[in-house]
Symmetry: C2
Subunit: 283 residues, 2 copies
Amino acid sequence: MSQAFEQISEQLCFGGTVGIYRHTSSACNCDMRFAAFVPPQAKTQAVPVLYYLSGLTCTEENFITKAGAQRYAAEQGLVLVAPDTSPRGEAVPDEDTWDFGKGAGFYLNATQSPWQTNYRMYSYVVEELPALIAANFPVRGDRAGILGHSMGGHGALICGLKNPEKFRSISAFAPIAAPSRCPWGQKAFTQYLGEDQSAWKDYDASELVLHKADPSRLILIDQGTGDNFYQQGQLLPEAFQIACEQAGQPLSLRMQVGYDHSYYFIATFMGDHIQHHAQALYA
Amino acid sequence: MSQAFEQISEQLCFGGTVGIYRHTSSACNCDMRFAAFVPPQAKTQAVPVLYYLSGLTCTEENFITKAGAQRYAAEQGLVLVAPDTSPRGEAVPDEDTWDFGKGAGFYLNATQSPWQTNYRMYSYVVEELPALIAANFPVRGDRAGILGHSMGGHGALICGLKNPEKFRSISAFAPIAAPSRCPWGQKAFTQYLGEDQSAWKDYDASELVLHKADPSRLILIDQGTGDNFYQQGQLLPEAFQIACEQAGQPLSLRMQVGYDHSYYFIATFMGDHIQHHAQALYA
């Protein structure tokens, strides 16, 4: 594997640095970008790392410019890493919609043609990216957490549930919490994974938690009640809550009255999420 | 004056609301937009208001999405208002450059053709917008502060210096602090105000302060030393510092080592600026 790693930009922010980086991904068979924040504490010691997965249509930039997380990460001493939401480039197959294909990788490994060559965001997020980060940034590889928003909240839940040894802490903003039962998830899973719904269970948090519950990790979820995608039944946090109760998975599902699906909602509760992860990662 | 006032969007954020609004501006003879944050405290009482002026190429959106100011304003109890940077619309004259015309109103009242009909951002910011805010938002009209970035830092300094009765507190991030002596300012002033440089003094902070010093107001300025526009001589904070010393104007000019001109720089020091204004506005 030839893994070219290139810094596109690096800027000071809250005493640390915000950077955009590009590398050749063997998981996705294309060049990938990610954003990273390195807090001031990391100048003298390796610190824990927190992965943030973005939602539909986003790139590696939305989180780092809009979520206001750097202030909290600088206070707590956490590296932040925000990958792109899908494979990219001319050679990567796509569809002319915003909820499938580029910008909508759904953090799974596709098995169906023509998607299976590039759409391997699960392996990218769980294996390739953490290895790259460990090799190039001052992080403690054994201390990682994961969070995300919407499609990225789904990604955080499934990557975290399936890999307790890799991710010590999990949280999500307005996640697609039961993708097999909502239009976004059904569309994506049918094309990426095929018609056989038994294959979907491996990437559905509300199915996974039934046999992957971990009583030692409290999962934090914030959901706005004014979120139109919540109201349309795309997110289904209650389905995840019922599954968690059934499985003995500790969950704090906070319904935030009147908040919508935007980064204004995310920014409002980001401090609580960073605190949630810092507590687990520095324990 | 018919002043249509319309809410384009309103979203919860840090217990308050972020909104985008449109109205018919008599100062600029066109429709104008602005962003506003109303903190939770304003549900029960009128609170002070802080005007933020953006830099070249910006609209009313950059500040409210990227600066991370809402958290601090919610803590301190301040309404935030961020106008656009120039008149807008098909009928408004423009030039095909990024540093003059639309997105580059320079917060002055143009006197030269064809600019003088619409390019009246000084009257807009100092008179029309505060009247509109006072009529439509829960603010204490007698308690207002002003800050800005780059071209908007220039705007904050000149609007604040010229109107001590309207703006109790002033601060700036990387302001164009001596526009008569830098390429951006010379280009804009020549076209908006004409060749006669005596007319420029009324919109140049380093000239104005010589006879508008106010010992009761400490001006706060942050300037990154890694800012390429600073290095190119577009900003000239030292010229303003010398003029302040000469005039007896209290100034805290903080040179922030390594920081650039971006919103990552602004976000890093936004908490200090909001604190600076809150102190004066709640005194």
